[in-house]
């Protein structure tokens, strides 16, 4: 190898971002390399995670036992998310983790549904998603591996207590040398790279590569060319967190309820529900936020946007140091997971890899902007007229989102760009769920005679409903894993 291999990595910060990154790097760094982690107080994990099914792949790579993880991290299953109050009062919709229906005759399912509903009652779009139907019924069963079974269309994410999740990661991290500490100083070299991070007790952390897992980007902010791009179309800049008593029958869903001040998220955990209120600090005070949550809450500031360059010199930002987004897509930890995956795929040499950094920045920016588009869309499609909602809709959507929405409105086409976290089924579910109805369906759906199409849809809906009703209640499924 003509270039010096990466031999030492230091993770500063900790939390979900720091520990996910450390655990993943521990598996690939050379055996004689060092991997250190300094946990700062501010990076301590709070609240709950509502994750996509993809996180389970990450756990598989780490060799994490899911049943054990769910016990220690108070985990429950997640089949999707329910959004209520976003458009008409009393209206809600579920975006489930199984694609609705099944494309038949080579045409995506939603076109058949759009066509059928012009003629009469075709039910809700989500009635064709097994995950959504089971989610509403509060039922859960693991997916089947038999592709002929309707249960094979299921996939699921997890609801986890963040602090306990981090504790689990820490316990499996093996070679990571961790200590508690604060960052007293970030020392830059003449070329702008980080020479060392100095702790209050005088210890100097020196490494080939620094991972900034602080909540405020203490390291990356000290390097050059690392400005922050604010996202004006997302109005909430404060989160209030609290935990409330569990429900007798917790749904396998994350629930997002739009309210005058912003929105409320409820994540079911074993022994309690983690509730988050997102609000705009300029319109709602922290005390008012606490009142909405019943008096008690931890307040966390939020700055929607992303860093222009999340990899700068020998510093890579992960988690909130890299990007922040109102957590209303239910994709917690996704940006961290893909960030560390991409970092490993582009692992630099000890003397840095400016080109790898450039590619990493391109990929992460694309990914973050597309996920942001989905969050922005949820505001843009909302019909509420309370101040934060009006404020959100005043900002212009990105050209990418404007084009994507226009294509869907015109003919139900889902445009997918590079590095989309959410693919066709997820976007269709969000568009239709939030009340965007295409003006036309795909003309090729008309090849099937109406009566035949109606019968196929009715059959499918019945089969899905039946399969969902046959599943055990979510609470029972959790007991099986206990």
């Amino acid at each position: 190898m003509s270039r010096p291999p990466l031999n030492s990595v230091a993770v500063l910060g900790g939390g979900v971002a720091g520990w996910m990154t450390a655990c993943a790097l521990a598996r690939v760094l050379p055996g004689d390399g060092t991997l250190r982690l300094v946990e700062t107080a501010a990076s301590a994990p709070r609240g709950a995670l509502s994750t996509l099914p993809a996180l389970r792949t990450f756990h598989g790579l780490l060799g994490l036992d899911e049943a054990a993880l769910m016990r220690t991290a108070r985990g429950t299953f997640k089949l999707g998310a329910r959004y209520s109050g976003w458009t008409d009062p009393g209206h809600d919709h579920v975006e489930g983790f199984s694609d609705a229906g099944a494309g038949f005759d080579g045409v995506a399912f939603h076109h058949h549904w759009l066509r059928a509903r012009q003629r009469g009652d075709a039910g809700r779009y989500e009635d064709y998603s097994l995950a959504a139907v089971a989610g509403r019924l509060g039922r859960f069963t693991p997916p089947s591996e038999d592709p002929r079974s309707v249960l094979s269309t299921l996939s699921y994410g997890l609801h986890l207590n963040a602090a306990a999740y981090v504790a689990t990661l820490r316990a499996t991290a093996g070679r990571v040398e961790a200590r508690a500490g604060e960052i007293a100083d970030v020392v830059l070299a003449a070329d702008g790279r980080i020479a060392a991070v100095v702790l209050p007790d005088g210890e100097r952390i020196v490494a080939d590569l620094f991972i900034d897992a602080t909540p405020d980007g203490r390291l990356i902010g000290a390097t050059q060319d690392a400005g922050w791009i604010d996202e004006p179309a997302l109005p909430c800049d404060r989160l209030a967190l609290r935990e409330v008593a569990p429900r007798a029958a917790p749904p396998p869903l994350t629930e997002f309820e739009a309210i005058a001040e912003g929105w409320l998220r409820r994540v079911p955990l074993r022994g309690g529900d983690a509730v988050t209120l997102a609000y705009a600090g300029g319109l709602t005070s922290d005390d008012e936020a606490r009142d909405i949550l019943g008096g008690e809450a931890t307040i966390v500031p939020l700055r929607n946007g992303r860093r222009r360059q999340v990899w700068s010199g020998n510093c890579v930002a992960v988690g909130p140091a890299a990007s922040q987004l109102e957590p209303l897509n239910g994709d917690d930890a996704q940006a961290i997971q893909s960030g560390v995956g991409r970092l490993i795929a582009l692992l630099p040499a000890a003397d840095g890899s400016p080109l790898a950094a450039m590619e990493y920045n391109r990929l992460m920016a694309e990914e973050q902007d597309r996920a942001r588009d989905l969050a922005v869309f949820r505001y843009a499609a909302a019909t509420r007229t309370d101040p934060p909602w009006i404020q959100a809709r005043r900002a212009a959507p990105s050209p990418a989102l404007a084009y994507k929405q226009a294509q869907f409105e015109s003919r139900g086409r889902v445009v997918l760009y590079d590095e989309e976290t959410f693919v066709e089924g997820a976007w269709v579910g969000a568009f239709l769920g939030h009340g965007i109805t295409p003006r036309r369906h795909d003309r090729l759906a008309d090849r099937i005679p109406p009566a035949q199409a109606d019968a196929a849809l009715a059959r499918l809906r019945g089969m899905i409903r039946q399969a969902a009703q046959a599943m055990p209640p979510h609470a029972d499924a959790l007991k099986d894993r206990a």
Partner: protein
């Protein structure tokens, strides 16, 4: 809504593009009240001289329900496992760009990184030893891939080399059997509607006026509808792809037919060799600024392996694409939509993508601007990504001292390609995008085949111990070699499965 539906479609021009479109629409629009019509003139020659394809053609044929053996017999088709590039790096070099991956990822790290590491450690084994389709091609062997995903025999795909004229005729019969009405004659005039500039009708030389809701321009380079009538404009890529002519000539088959196409770098461009069952198609794609037609034809004829079956035919073109491949109620398909030299056999593929995209965005009579925009976005991306891949072949040459090739190496390349090459040179990363036809194995084949070597391999490769890596490499190599040894020869397989009557094979 129904009253806005397209009621009739007119395809202008036959040839490969016209009949592929007619066949696909007749299959995919079946069940809808849409009349399909195609006008073509036997007096206007089609370009197809013998055509090499990419594996996607198999999906196209399957979607039409074609019987593979029957299709191959009737188009004098042979199998294609890849393309051999001769002399594109250094003069005398040869590599095959296969339809398949090299090796398999080890420890989550792409195979080529491990190969680079082994090579740095002194292992001289060429990359192609780990590619089943390349090794089979080198030995003139062929068998269809296995469906058992655990087998190395499942690690490749294949395409065809066929007579494009016969393919068009085959699809014509298919389309006509499904109701496509063919009209013989030349188009004399194109009438636009005053209100919105849509095409209202064409008038044939015999005076017949044909109206349609949607027009498909398959008229070839000249773009009778899309350019001459609708002025779609042309994005000219000559600065990156300066070859603007081709001379083509078929010759007799002398050797065993190869399951691959050959592209040989020459003084002012490159020569193709496409073996069919009944003959070999040959051509020379060249830059008229660097060689005369006569000299190009002479070079072409001098390189033939068998007796020429005709005089060379000359073609002219400009690399690039229409700015709007869909304008108003007209969609251009095939050469009317743009031209990229057939260095990577993408001509028919671009026709196929155009048809698929049109079907995905099938419009109403008003041809919503949104449909046009999306079609043009998708097709432009498709063209641009292929363009970069083609320019890579030219740019990464070491043919020092030849004016044509020195220019290709030294003149600027598209920024998007420069970025991709930088990433590969730096640490062996193949930049990936969602759209675009050529995937990582293709880029690897050309990069490494033309001596673009990364400065470092993926360091995570080192997590696999040396001895374990050597053992794994040996196992892959042996399994490839063993599998190839058991395959029949290409000619044997054709004779068994799909021999055309009277073919040399």
């Amino acid at each position: 809504m129904t009253d806005r539906a397209v009621r009739n479609i007119l395809i202008v021009g036959g040839g490969t593009a016209g009949w592929m479109t007619a066949a696909a629409l007749s299959a995919k629009l079946a069940g809808l009240p849409i009349a399909l019509r195609l006008v073509e003139s036997a007096e206007i020659g089609t370009v197809g001289v013998g055509e090499a394809t990419v594996p996607h053609i198999r999906h196209f044929n399957a979607a039409l329900g074609l019987d593979e053996a029957d299709f191959m017999r009737k188009t004098q088709a042979t199998y294609k496992l890849g393309i051999e590039f001769r002399g594109w790096g250094k003069p005398g070099d040869s590599y095959i760009h296969p339809f398949g991956a090299y090796g398999a990822a080890i420890g989550g790290v792409g195979f080529h990184h491990h190969w680079l590491r082994a090579r740095q450690g002194g292992d001289p084994t060429p990359l192609e030893a780990y590619s089943l389709p390349v090794m089979a091609a080198r030995q003139n062997r062929f068998a269809p891939p296995s469906s058992d995903l655990r087998s190395v025999a499942s690690t490749y795909n294949y395409a065809y080399q066929f007579d494009a004229g016969l393919y068009a005729a085959y699809l014509r019969a298919y389309a006509e059997a499904r109701g496509v009405v063919r009209t013989e004659g030349k188009v004399a005039d194109v009438a636009l509607r005053g209100a919105d500039g849509f095409i209202e009708a064409i008038t044939m030389e015999n005076g017949e006026r044909i109206e349609a809701d949607l027009f498909i321009d398959c008229s070839g380079f000249r773009g009778l509808l899309i350019e001459q009538a609708l002025k779609a404009g042309y994005e000219d890529w000559t600065r990156w792809l300066p070859c603007d002519r081709a001379a083509a000539v078929p010759c007799e088959t002398v050797e065993a037919s190869t399951p691959y196409t050959r592209c040989t770098a020459d003084e002012a461009g490159w020569r193709w060799r496409i073996p069919l069952q009944h003959r070999v198609g040959n051509g020379y794609v060249y830059s008229s600024a660097h060689i005369s037609d006569d000299d190009a034809a002479a070079a072409l004829l001098a390189g033939l392996e068998g007796k020429a079956q005709a005089d060379p035919r000359f073609l002219r073109f400009v690399a690039g694409h229409r700015r709007k491949q869909w304008s108003r109620n007209c969609v251009a398909v095939g050469l009317a939509s743009g031209f990229l030299e057939p260095l990577e056999s993408t001509s028919i593929h671009l026709i196929q993508v155009a048809i698929t995209t049109l079907l995905e965005l099938f419009p109403d009579r008003d041809c919503a601007q949104a449909d046009q925009d999306e079609y043009n976005r998708v097709m432009t991306l498709e063209f641009e990504r292929i363009r970069d891949f083609l320019v890579l072949h030219y740019h990464a040459n070491q043919r020092v001292g030849s004016p044509f090739w020195d220019d290709r190496r030294n003149l600027p390349i598209p920024d998007s390609l420069a970025y991709k090459m930088d990433l590969f040179r730096d640490r062996g990363v193949v930049v990936k995008y969602k759209d675009g036809f050529f995937l990582e194995p293709s880029w690897l084949a050309v990069y490494l085949g033309q001596n673009v070597v990364p400065r470092m391999y993926d360091p995570v490769s080192d997590s696999v111990p040396d001895a374990a890596l050597a053992q794994r490499l040996k196992a892959i190599r042996e399994s490839v070699a063993d599998t190839v040894r058991a395959m029949p020869t290409h000619d044997e397989w054709i004779a068994r499965f799909c021999a055309a009557s009277g073919a040399a094979a």
